[in-house]
């Protein structure tokens, strides 16, 4: 049914376009300097396409991850993250946010966790983000990462922490 309607409408539109284009009548009030109008419409379109194609290619190339040293899985739950380091043995732990009333002076509200995800410095790390129940999102703005955690899907992101420290 839907396809029939699509065909119907596209046939109608095509007919109207052809009828508009192939008429012998000329509306002289809307016709003026056709040539330059065409040039300065088509030329920018071409330039934009020439910019877009390499740009899209680079976008996908950026995604290709070369030789991480470590893979960490971040799995989102309601309402904590669990981290798994399983390259060598099955290591996993949960990280809950420290509630505001339990904070020690000097700690950041809503940002601190009881167990932090620990990573080696200056090493390419691959993080695979997923979720256990609903959609979550794993982000560390200081490292420039954000990745959606979708149940049943494994999203890959990679980074290198070039300096030691705590990143939020």
């Amino acid at each position: 049914h839907a396809l029939m309607i699509v065909f119907l409408i596209s046939t109608l539109v095509l007919y109207i376009i052809v009828a508009m284009v192939s008429t012998k009548l000329t509306n002289k009030y809307i016709l003026d300097s056709q040539e330059i109008e065409i040039i300065w419409t088509v030329l920018p379109a071409i330039i934009l396409i020439l910019i877009a194609l390499p740009s899209l290619r680079i976008l996908y190339l950026m995604d290709e991850i070369n030789n991480p040293l470590l893979t960490i899985k971040a799995v989102g739950h309601q309402w904590y993250w669990s981290y798994e380091y399983t390259d060598y043995e099955d290591l996993g732990f949960d990280a809950y946010m420290i509630p505001t009333q339990n904070l020690v002076p000097g700690q950041f509200r809503l940002l601190e966790a009881d167990h932090r995800m620990v990573i080696p410095v200056e090493s390419p790390i691959r993080v695979l983000v997923s979720a256990d129940d609903v959609l979550h999102s794993w982000a560390v703005p200081a490292l420039g990462i954000k990745m959606d955690a979708v149940p049943g899907r494994l999203n890959q992101t990679a980074f290198i922490a070039s300096r030691p420290g705590v990143f939020y």
Partner: protein
Amino acid sequence: MAEDMQAKLEKYRTAPFDARFPNQNQTKNCWSNYMDFHRCQKALDAKGVDNAPCEWYKRVYKSLCPMSWVQKWDDQREEGTFPGKI
């Protein structure tokens, strides 16, 4: 060949870049290696050959797949409700 496999396994750090799955969605990568390990194991066991070469797939799927997924799939294989063909 077995020595190369041993050497490769000893140098194993993490799952290397797989050109079959270059993009963000690595779900198939995890699934594929899990299937490959179990099929390899089944095939080599049927032949009565040592299944050490399958160990690579096991390391990769252990690196990539969340432990809960592996657990679930192992349970399903035990029960006979596993959705893949091994």
